[in-house]
Symmetry: C2
Subunit: 402 residues, 2 copies
Amino acid sequence: MKNLIVQKYGGTSVGDIERIKNVARRVIKTKESGKDVVVVVSAMGDSTDHLLEMAYTISEKPAAREMDMLLATGEQVSIALLAIAIQEMGHDVISLTGAQCGIITSDRFNKAKIDSINTTRIMRELQSKKIVIVAGFQGVNANKDITTLGRGGSDTTAVALAAALGAEKCEIYTDVNGVYTADPRIVSEASLIPAISYDEVIELAALGAKVLHPRSVELAGNYKVPLVVRSSFNDHKGTIIEEDISMEKVLIRGISLDEDIAKISVLGVPDKPGIAFKLFSLLSKEDIHVDMIVQNVNRNGVNDITFTVAMDELQRANETAQKFAFDVEAERVVYDTGVSKLSVVGTGVVANAEVASKFFEALYEIGINIQAISTSEIKISCIIDKEKGKEAMKYIHKKFDM
Amino acid sequence: MKNLIVQKYGGTSVGDIERIKNVARRVIKTKESGKDVVVVVSAMGDSTDHLLEMAYTISEKPAAREMDMLLATGEQVSIALLAIAIQEMGHDVISLTGAQCGIITSDRFNKAKIDSINTTRIMRELQSKKIVIVAGFQGVNANKDITTLGRGGSDTTAVALAAALGAEKCEIYTDVNGVYTADPRIVSEASLIPAISYDEVIELAALGAKVLHPRSVELAGNYKVPLVVRSSFNDHKGTIIEEDISMEKVLIRGISLDEDIAKISVLGVPDKPGIAFKLFSLLSKEDIHVDMIVQNVNRNGVNDITFTVAMDELQRANETAQKFAFDVEAERVVYDTGVSKLSVVGTGVVANAEVASKFFEALYEIGINIQAISTSEIKISCIIDKEKGKEAMKYIHKKFDM
């Protein structure tokens, strides 16, 4: 549908009745501009926390299926209230749960992936000129059990619907004005990026910029859905994310700091072929995402293997590493939560050797030791002392004159 | 299924986490006694009030479809939490929404009626030895829109499931010990009735005894499902409701007092054929349930028509009566909320003229004026001054020596 816009509003944007009315007014404004509108909403503010608290009071390990049954109610409340608000303002509207709008997912409760979307119902409602409100974050498996999509779930719902419906764009409304060159709460000079490519924003997101989950941006990139990130509280134009079409590549797009990481080292690992593979295959089986990996040079027939993981996977990663260390008779496992990852992102970053040397030089100038380095096509990341992370971020933002 | 028991727990019984655990223990006890169990639950305590409050803050007349979307989340939270509690205690369990357990209803949002139940999914889960938890009060229409069943909805879900599954009985757990000869909060000598017929309990319920909604009892009677009303807080055996099989009919089963009624009088209605019919057909179109009707004798070519309605339908009934009065050029409409309805119920009530005369005599003895009388096969009701309702109830309970 050429004339269709998909909008997604997060939990903060629908945090209370006044904000829900505010969202209703925004949606209606778009509708009145002559567009068809599908609106994806998250659960109200902290309502999910309240549900989680009740469940974990009852059981430390509640069944994943029942947790999805429970959590899906949060979005269902939001869609009903938003529909009521839009209807009160005089517009035709209908709310649909994930099941009702045909979002079929994998069987994996809590972390389901969207397999397909049957758009029949949504199309019918759009054709009868209704505004359609969809519960984000949820779907059903082939057995009609309710599933939730895990992190970034509502964004993913919005992008997937935009792709399935052939929307002209997908707008992600949030509580910031868009994507910045650095976190403006840390770097006061940070500036808003008006346009950025999918790849660049994926790196920024993966590196700790909290605006968008990389999963939804990847999906948008795969289906070439133009994404707009903007605030639900003002009329700022926000950041548009689409394929990079500019002739002139920008060297550096932004800087990000991820403080929610931890470093684990397995010390004294016997130097045998395939031994590192065994560790990372164990971690992968446990569904733990390993980020940077550093293997130290051989000393006396043993290696040290160091890797980083997200903070909330530290405990499980540490247990897995302990098991591995016992099996292969390594010396011991140590972990360090006092680290963070500082990255520069941009299409020209790796092609241009000057960027890397300027980055390392800047860290040297302010006396920060680099514990590990990793690079991709469009980013360079360094693991540094967490205490110095913010200071380093500010200094480098200035050094690169962003 | 011969070995199956359907249990229903109301909002008070699942009012908080501790009570949900208590229900879990009761359910497991039944399961461990060798029975299959299907459990129907309502929304937690006052959670529905919270949802209603949010909706009515946004709109005075929210769309019925969206209200059902909203309210259905209450039961969905309860089933998930109860399933988590049962699972934590080591039993296999699964929760199902109205849609998932195949409860197909009419299109009438807020007041839907169950058309059919496709028991495939429930049967499959029972056969795999799981305890099945079902969301009461809800279903879906043919279009897969979520509907709610209105008053007495969760009881109706439980009885309908018991009928569809051929359960051996349906237990309704509540916060009282069973059905009493009169409201024990008013009449301290009131005693628990161990066994009662469907018809008698329907009359008691229709007359203000709040234990069971007549709708669910009617359904139970139609499908011959034995109903047990008992407390979820103790082990009292409760009241069993089934077809009346005793040879010896009990004269009087109980007394009830309905204080939630109002009386409307249309004064000076021209005495023409069919004019009363017109009034009651208008009320019926507005879905207003009229209870007792009294038409005064003709005086100078005009009549007074008086009827009673439930308090929460007074406003709409009054508007309809005003419209009628204007159309037929009646003098005016007056209403009175200072009345209540006192009834005696029992299979022998009407057959035995002595009961009626003893009833009227008792009211006379304590100086209470009867404003209207109505009778059915098994009850006699009088409209009296509300201020004297409780006093009359106590006196008559004693007079009939219940």
